[in-house]
Amino acid sequence: MKRLAWILALAVLAAALVVFNLPEPATQASAEVTDSDAADPAAGAVVEEPSAEEASVSGDAADDVPGTTSSDGDTETNGSATDHADPSLYASDAPVGSEVGDQLPDFTLQTLDGEDFVLSAHRGKVVVLNFWATWCTPCVNELPHFDRLQAEHPEDVAVLAVHSDFTTADVPAYVEDLPYGIAFALDASGDVGRMVGGTTSLPRTLVLNARGEIIYNQPGSVTYEVLEELVTLAQSPADD
């Protein structure tokens, strides 16, 4: 009887050791190409590789890209609507990835206002992504800094606060009570979070320059001063 109990117990333990150590579904962020038709924009992010068209444009337009010539720091910071509408001006041949120096793959998230935030549409601006969650106290405490940053840079910086797919509260209701003017989105599928290197640690902040290249990607809290410095860094002329 006792022997039977031990055999059963060991079988349970063996099963547990197998089941709990199965590999998680592959989430290679930079290699992920999802069918844009299959993804429901309202439910989450559409993650795309830079299209072939963009890649060839970047090769041809390398000479025309303002950032590559040292005298053109002004052109980037005075980004107007027409510049932003033409992504070819800000094409990059950096590798796609989540490290500093890589360019982030394009994605689309629906903001809580109902609009679509398409990353590539903001080329020409500095893009600041802040990954946060309602249950993360330091995240909530630093949201005002991002709000102030957006208020101080209405034209040349685009701030998006992305809530983690790990929700414990009604995020739209929570955000509605907040007095901030920045764009909020919910990364319901978790794709965008995986794409930037994971949201195990929150908050995580990314700063992209006008060409969509990552100049900062770190977990941890930031202050307003740090954000301003990062924006300045992002807008400084690139030395290719």
Partner: protein, 302 residues
């Protein structure tokens, strides 16, 4: 060959030790977490394990009941903490502090530390008084502080945050030991420093004082201790056979007044000590373990 057999018979692990090892491994079956540097995030994580095992341990497959309780209280303004309280009631009624003695990984760690050959601090009136401290910690850090801040919708799992050595050892050290989490070092501050000092003090104390954390600090032991008389499983004394000699209490390493009271972790050490063979580990009416070893002298093991 005979010497080896002699050694084995003297040193073989008891059933209880085997069950402790088994339970520690079962509650931490996600061993790949140490390889990947990531905690388990599957569905099973929402189920509480019975013992004190940090949710943030890379290998943990379930949630710590104490952490879950604090967070449930911290969120009580949104929804009542029925699930966690219900789980604790279930564990308490079924097992009580049998969990402490047989299933808690932190209990196992403390017992192993106590095996380090040093002079040992014997229990006394002072340790008995100190054993009430865990109820104070339960009240203040697990119940009052999280509840107080929950009224402002600000989650403060105060025991996890300020004290818990399991969190520091399994969670913090467990995660930081993997180079994939090197960026976490930048987030360490005064909270970690204090908790690390607390961990070092507790681990050191456990070498000299048997189960120092269990006896004096563990709020989970305090909770399970509340079920001492009503739990289904436990070490019980047959009152009809008991002569009141007190051998059981003397042999007990915990700060009990009576076998099976709220300090008893049901390790069963007293079972073989009782000269009247009046003590058994029982599950309701069923005897799981009765006295087996013949006594050489009254009240002493061979």
């Amino acid at each position: 060959m005979a010497k080896m057999k002699e050694w084995w018979l003297a040193h073989r692990p008891t059933t209880r030790r085997l069950v402790q090892l088994y339970a520690a491994l079962l509650q931490n079956a996600h061993l790949r977490g140490f390889v990947d540097g990531e905690i388990y995030k599957g569905k099973a994580k929402s189920v509480c394990v019975p013992g004190l095992n940090c949710y943030s341990c890379p290998a943990a497959v379930g949630a710590c009941p104490l952490g879950s309780l604090q967070n449930a209280i911290a969120a009580q303004a949104e929804r009542p903490a029925f699930y966690v309280v219900g789980t604790l009631l279930l564990f308490g009624l079924a097992l009580g502090r049998v969990i402490c003695g047989w299933l808690c990984p932190l209990g196992l760690i403390q017992e192993l530390l106590h095996k380090v050959p040093t002079p040992k601090v014997r229990k006394n009136r002072f340790t008995r008084i100190l054993s009430w401290l865990k109820y104070v910690i339960l009240a203040v850090f697990v119940l009052i502080i999280p509840f107080w801040y929950s009224l402002q919708r600000y989650p403060v799992p105060a025991f996890c945050k300020y004290i818990c050595p399991a969190g520091t050892l399994e969670g913090a050290v467990g995660l930081l030991s993997n180079e994939a989490n090197a960026d976490l070092f930048g987030m360490l501050g005064i909270l970690f420093t204090r908790k690390f000092i607390i961990l070092a003090l507790i681990l050191t104390a456990c070498v000299f004082v048997y189960r120092a954390f269990c006896r004096f600090l563990c709020p989970l032991g305090a909770i399970y201790g509340l079920f001492a008389r009503v739990a289904l499983l436990g070490v019980r004394v047959d009152r009809l056979s008991c002569t009141g000699c007190g051998a059981c209490v003397r042999s007990c390493p915990m700060d009990i007044m009576r076998v099976g009271d709220h300090e008893c972790i049901h390790c069963g050490k007293c079972i073989d000590v009782c000269p009247e063979k009046a003590i058994e580990l029982k599950a309701g009416r069923l005897t799981l373990k009765g006295p087996q070893i013949a006594l050489t002298k009254r009240g002493e093991n061979p």
